[in-house]
Amino acid sequence: MGLPRRGLIFAAGAASLALAGAGIGVAATHDSSTTPHAAASPSSSPSQAPPASPTDTPVPSPLINDQTDAVDNVGGTALVQFTPGSHLNVAATAESPGQLAIDPNGRITLQVTMTNAAGDVFSIAGPAAVGTETTDQVSVLDAGKGLTLDSTQGDSCTVTFNRAAESGVQGTAHCATQTQGGAVTVTVPFRLFLVAT
């Protein structure tokens, strides 16, 4: 080793700091856990969450009730706009349609994933009624910029619907997320329509 003693001591200290940086602290958000064999740091690895057993994870019900609801295939388009930043277009086609369900009381539920050739994704799932919905699940992947957004994992989203009928839905999703470069707002006007499959 060509490093003088001070260099060695500094390198060891830096390595230890790096290890501590990687190993100390609990999962930053609820969506991350550590497996029992993580053992990241030889110095300390406190506060590791216990591993989840198979029965620990509740299994949610499907969003759409196929038994009672009428389910239509829908296509659509969306413009995903980033502020600051650019925009991208995605679509759901007849080959890979979304679903629009309506229950006997006229309540509409959506489950649509739109993509493009670049691998970008916009997805919306949940109730649709004229006005503002806060419970819809919205996710976005901008593959080129490396931006992901998921309202089920801490990002905030609301969806404003200005049309919600069995024949079609129109609205705008508004989301905010944090990136390495700072806060980004994402606005996604979208339109869905019935497709024959």
């Binding site: 001591i9 390595a15 230890s16 990241a40 030889p42 038994q67 389910v71 239509d72 997805s123 089920t152």
Partner: protein
């Protein structure tokens, strides 16, 4: 060699061994922001959460530390079966994906049965083993619906289910016209045969318009499925 020197060298060796466990020829992940010393976060989004068998599920996520992407990291994309709504068996890796320089990864696939999914990064470089949250993917049975009208006010429907399953009960149901749905009414039933195929003919009311869909209830490995609705089937004598 003095005790101090020995301790210093030993700590460097120990740190290097822990920091660089990557296999020979395998590039270690890089990126992330080490301060403050928070653990990395691995996310997984699977969309849609209920997918019709034969349709594409998109899965994507990001591996970050303090919102800084960790690139060149190997992510094991894993599944575990759900049987009767409960996890069954061990996790198995479907694909190994590599994060982009910004820490993202994505893939697409066509699942056949209900399952749970997760993403796992195994300790490499300076980053500890990190596991995403578990997401549930419901897969509904695909039922095709190809009706035709016959003489004497009969409707013939043939099709199949997917994944192909025999002895599945199908309910042939009628609804109001598009925009006027007020529930389903079962007109008759049939059962799938070998290869999940079915073929059924039924006499219905004459000079009536039907809007038909087929429904099959959930079983141990798939959620309930509903075919497309075919509108405007008019019967005649």
């Amino acid at each position: 060699m003095s005790l101090r020197k020995l301790l210093t060298v030993a700590s460097v060796v120990a740190a290097a061994a822990a920091v660089i466990p990557a296999l020979p020829g395998e590039a270690a992940p890089s990126g992330g922001c080490p301060y403050p010393p928070n653990r990395p976060v691995l996310t997984l989004t699977a969309s849609p959460s209920t997918v019709v068998a034969s349709k594409t599920l998109k899965a994507f996520g990001k591996f970050t530390q303090n919102n800084c992407g960790i690139g060149n990291a190997s992510i094991a994309y894993q599944r575990r079966a759900l049987v009767n709504g409960k996890p069954s068996g061990a996790w198995s890796t479907m694909r190994t994906l590599t994060t982009s320089s910004s820490g993202t990864y994505s893939t697409g696939r066509r699942p056949l049965t209900n399952e749970q999914e997760r993403a796992v990064f195994t300790h490499s470089g300076s980053f500890p083993t990190t596991t995403s949250s578990i997401v549930t993917v419901h897969v509904s049975e695909h039922v095709s619906n190809n009706p035709s009208t016959l003489s004497s006010c009969r409707i013939h429907i043939a099709g199949s289910n997917y994944p192909a399953k025999a002895n599945r009960k199908l309910l042939i149901q009628n609804r109001g016209p598009s925009g006027h749905f007020n529930g389903w009414k079962t007109l008759w039933t049939t059962t799938t045969g070998s290869g999940g195929k079915y073929s059924t003919t039924h006499t219905v009311a004459c000079n009536t318009t039907y809007n038909l869909s087929l429904y099959t209830s959930a079983d141990s490995t798939n959620t309930a499925g509903r075919s497309r609705t075919v509108f405007g089937i008019k019967t005649a004598k």
